[in-house]
Amino acid sequence: MSKMCLNKVALVFIFFMLTSFSWAEKKFNLYIGTNYIADPTIARFEKLCNCKLYQNYFNDNGELLAKIAAGASGYDVMVPTSYAVTDLIAMHKILPLDKSKLPNLQYVDKKFLSEPYDQGNKYSVPYAYNPVFLAYNVDKMKELGINPNTWAVVFDPKYLVKLKGRITMFNSSRNVFAVALLYLGKDPNSTNIADLKAAQNLINRASPYWAKFDSDSYYRGLLRGDIWVSQSYSIDIFKAMSDARNSHAKITIGAQLQKEGNMYELDNLVIPASTHNVNDAYAFINNALLPQSEYELSNLTGSSVPSQIAIKRLDNSIASLDWIYPHDMSKLQTFIAYPPKIRILTNEMWTEIQMQCREICSTCSYAQDN
């Protein structure tokens, strides 16, 4: 009896192991931010390559770099931001691109090509960009008499006392440092240690008023009404606004660029050196650069796309939004990679900012920085 039972158990195991190994299909792994590719674009690509596209999500380029540096392989195309491209090139983790396989590159606006992070676009082609700005609860701002057209809203105690526990900032060292530097009137890509220390001090004094470092679900806090001001990406706010409309929420979310200037994350398509699907990777990129794809991306997710043909087809309700397609691009800057030493230093600073619980400093003088 027992022996029979044992055999049965063994049989069940063998059955499951066999079925598990026969479960296979052609897969294509994309490493991308959430909600950053339109469904019709995916469908077109899946037909093209006769495979199934799997999206693997990241929220911060630091996370992407840490994973790739640690030897993660298996992705077929990745979508890193400008500065991360430079680091990936230095790490020899991405392949140089054969432009002859990317005819649709011709549709990309020249002003987004050959950026300093990858001269001549040897390794990367621009996919889309996202301005980073403050989104806010319109009624609360009116009530408090705050105009969120300045980064002072998240740094100056004059505003902070009214907004204590209602602000979220990104969980991303580059983004938080950049806006602190912009507020201080410095170069947001500064590698000057004194500048960075000044930014760190500013952040340390403001952070006790902030509710959370969050780049994943901050817009849900805005929607619920417990968060009033958030450092935000255009795509998230685009989604939050449409969610608010669909669910007839009482809350109105506003979005605005800041007068000190804003960063924009220019995201790129790159092919990891470890892929076995180089041809599919080219097919993916070429498909993504198609004006139709760029149009779908901008229309459905609210991303800003580097393609005039696509923008012309867009509804004016999207194309005219200043926080998606800024009227004055000269006030927006993109990120430049740090040298390794500075990156290790800022990472250490960031760790301390994130991990240290600070009390509100009532005796600190803020005047010196302003």
Partner: protein
Amino acid sequence: MQANKSSKLLILGGIFTFLFLYVPLILVILYSFNDSRIGISWVGFTLKWYKVLFADSQLMSAAVNSLIIAFVASFFSVILGTFAGVALHKYKVPLLSSLIMIPVAAPELLVGVALLLFFLLINFTLGYVSIVLAHIAFCTSFVTLAVKSRMVGIDNSIFDAARDLGANSFKSFYLVLIPSILPGIIAGGLMAFTLSIDDFVITFFTAGVGSTTLPLSIYSMIKMGVTPEVNAISTIIILFTLVITSLASKISPQLFK
């Protein structure tokens, strides 16, 4: 024991703790049938989140990944764990008995980080295999403990009897010992299976591209704030656990003592 004030107090305390254990889980199950996307106020009964769930191909493939990993991991950990359990019952192997306690006694984070560094330094690609190898390690510990607890009730004289009847070491192991501790082995295997399916921390550090498991998907869904689907998948997992746990306790009641 007759009912009086102090034993009533005891029962009250016990019931309070049971409520504390169960009310949150029951709430999750209830909300999985709630027809509302954002709020948590009750809107109406719906099964749509389950439909959304089964239509989500990424989530389904994560579930399949979890099942495959759990099957393979529990299969090998049952073999290793049975060996270790028998060895520890019959002989003194101090190193083995302390290694067995690592997953029980050390912070999971430490094991996860150590395994991550190990795989990276030996240039081992993170993916299904690294997850399975890690899961086999911690599951082995729990199977060992289950087998050992079953061994306590075994009369050693049956092995002598088997040897007297001419069985060699291997035969007495396979024909006498294994059948008599089979309930312990199966219960240990079921335990390994659930532990592997539910593991988050160690999987989090040893997973690679395309080897996302169910807990990893749930984690990112929670972080993104996708609530209704999380309720639905949680309900399925809770019911699944209920079945497996009851099964294991039926087969080997000693497991829990």
